[in-house]
């Protein structure tokens, strides 16, 4: 029996860094992030199986299959893959099919969680807060955005990657079935929905400029009529209309045209 082959922390960090830099480097419709996966784990595989060996070739080949996830939260899949390959290289009975099914089974759910937390909640909140600063020409705003995104995502990505390797398949399955993911997603959506409401109120600024000349005097439609019913009626109405159209599975480009048409017609008849 040969000596136990194992990956060091340095190998893992290297793999994480490659993944963070190059995961989408050759993004494509056929296999999505697969080349990125092979790139990220190839140096570690070479250490486990030896470069140019049959095992190495097989391993590379099986990771060239379709793979697509959110790269930070989904980073644990790469960590886990390395743990499984390490066990396999040490002669444990691990079926290559099993490695593939672990990857394909986790990539969807983790992408869903990752996208909700990052693109769905974190970034709109950060942007919502700093765009006001930025619109006044404050150059600290873009720097602040980079810092927020950087700190959170590198932290999350590194944590997830290492968790995947050290926790292994059992660890990750435990997190998923333990309801932690669901709890986090639920909280993120509560925060996301509330903040989106605030964002709609502050960034959808459409208002009526119409003034009716009545015998009793001028009537400003926005301030005397709409505001007295509900402030922000027009922005809220337009945003909810858009949500409704999206729920009807209408094409985004069609909705865009509808919104543009509303703007043009409204302006031409003098309503906006």
């Amino acid at each position: 029996m040969s000596e136990k082959k194992s990956l060091t922390k340095k190998d893992l960090v290297k793999s994480y860094l490659i993944w963070t830099f190059f995961s989408h480097c050759m993004y494509n419709y056929e296999r999505m992030q697969a080349p990125g996966v092979v790139h990220a784990i190839a140096p570690s595989l070479a250490k486990l199986y030896g470069e140019h060996t049959e095992e190495m070739k097989d391993a590379c080949k099986r990771h060239m299959e379709f793979f697509n996830t959110e790269p930070n939260i989904g980073g644990c899949i790469i960590g886990m893959t390395l743990a499984l390959e390490e066990q396999k290289a040490n002669g444990e009975n691990i079926d290559p099919e099993m490695i593939s099914s672990v990857k394909t089974g986790l990539m969807g759910p983790l992408a869903g969680v990752g996208d909700t937390i990052w693109q769905g909640t974190l970034s709109p909140i950060a942007l919502g807060i700093i765009l006001g600063m930025a619109q006044e020409g404050n150059l600290f705003a873009p720097v602040l955005y980079l810092i927020i995104i950087g700190v959170v995502l590198y932290g999350l990505g590194y944590w997830s990657f290492m968790k995947g390797y050290y926790g292994g398949r059992e660890g990750i399955t435990k997190i998923i079935s333990g309801g932690l993911i669901n709890a986090v997603t639920e909280k993120a959506t509560v925060v996301g929905a509330t903040v989106l409401g605030g964002l709609a109120a502050s960034y959808v600024t459409v208002s009526s400029g119409m003034v009716l000349h009545l015998s009793s005097g001028d009537l400003n439609v926005q301030t005397s009529v709409l505001d007295s019913i509900f402030k922000g009626m027009l922005p809220l109405g337009i945003t909810l209309l858009t949500v409704g159209l999206l729920k009807k599975k209408m094409n985004v480009n069609v909705i865009l045209c509808i919104l543009i048409a509303i703007g043009i017609v409204g302006t031409l008849i003098g309503f906006f």
Partner: protein
């Protein structure tokens, strides 16, 4: 304002560096750099007016405030909108609101670039399959990076450089001739409506997670801003508190 060929190419590079799939700033900061705010600042620096770049970029960014690109599907190319929109606004000296309306059709054209890229890479993947079968680490690394990045750089830099170099005069002339017509008013109004689209798209993604309860939170956030004028940071904080209070309720049950 006149723009040199070098500036046009640099602006093309700004778009390339923020594109999905460029490795140089890592997937995280590359993604952040794709926000029109960041694109606007970078373009502003190249054209010598970072503050205006920041203002215009922020205005364009409001439309794409809550953009989600999941599963490699891109609905609108906000990087292109931010980059070209800001460049045209600075060169032609137009307002941020008008730049917003100019930027939207540009972002739709960006989808074409994206599709060419995602399809073109398939050919490289097939070539890489052979490389992978040799099990050679160095070759794998090179094949993952070099061919697709060369392809991408040409694909992303060329149209942007040409558009900002030759398009600026066209846009300036067009805007001048439109002065006094309702077109500018229409463009300005559209700019106040379009942020609704990005917000609605993001909200719809949330709806599929939590169901219709999300409407209540949305309304709450809306009212907190319109009637109480709370800053967004405070609204976010209140939302976090609510989210945690809700959990303790669930445990009590």
């Amino acid at each position: 304002m006149h723009i040199s060929i070098l500036q046009a190419i640099l602006i093309g590079l700004v778009y390339y560096l923020g594109a999905n799939g460029t490795p140089w700033f890592t997937v995280n900061l590359g993604w952040a750099f794709r926000r029109p705010l960041l694109q606007g600042v970078a373009v502003g620096i190249i054209l010598g007016d970072p503050v205006k770049g920041c203002i215009v970029g922020a205005a364009i960014n409001a439309t794409y405030l809550a953009q989600i690109t999941a599963g490699g599907a891109q609905t609108m190319d906000e990087g292109l909108a931010g980059c070209v929109g800001t460049a045209l606004a600075i060169i032609s000296g137009t307002s941020a609101q008008v730049a917003v309306s100019l930027a939207v059709p540009i972002s739709l054209l960006g989808n074409l670039v994206w599709m060419i890229y995602m399809t073109g890479d398939i050919a490289i993947v097939h070539a890489m399959d052979k490389v992978v079968n040799t099990g050679d680490v160095k070759k794998i690394v090179l094949w993952n990076i070099i061919p697709s990045q060369i392809f991408k750089m040409i694909l992303y830099v060329t149209p942007v450089a040409i558009a900002v170099f030759s398009g600026a005069d066209v846009i300036t002339g067009m805007l001048d001739s439109l002065k006094g017509t309702p077109v500018i008013d229409c463009l300005t109004t559209i700019g106040t409506i379009l942020p609704a689209l990005g917000i609605a798209m993001n909200f719809k993604a949330i709806l599929s997670n939590t169901g219709n309860r999300a409407y209540l939170y949305f309304l709450l956030g809306f009212v907190l801003y319109t009637y109480m004028n709370l800053p967004l940071l405070v609204i976010g904080l209140l939302a976090v508190i609510m989210a945690f209070l809700q959990k303790s309720e669930a445990i009590a049950e």
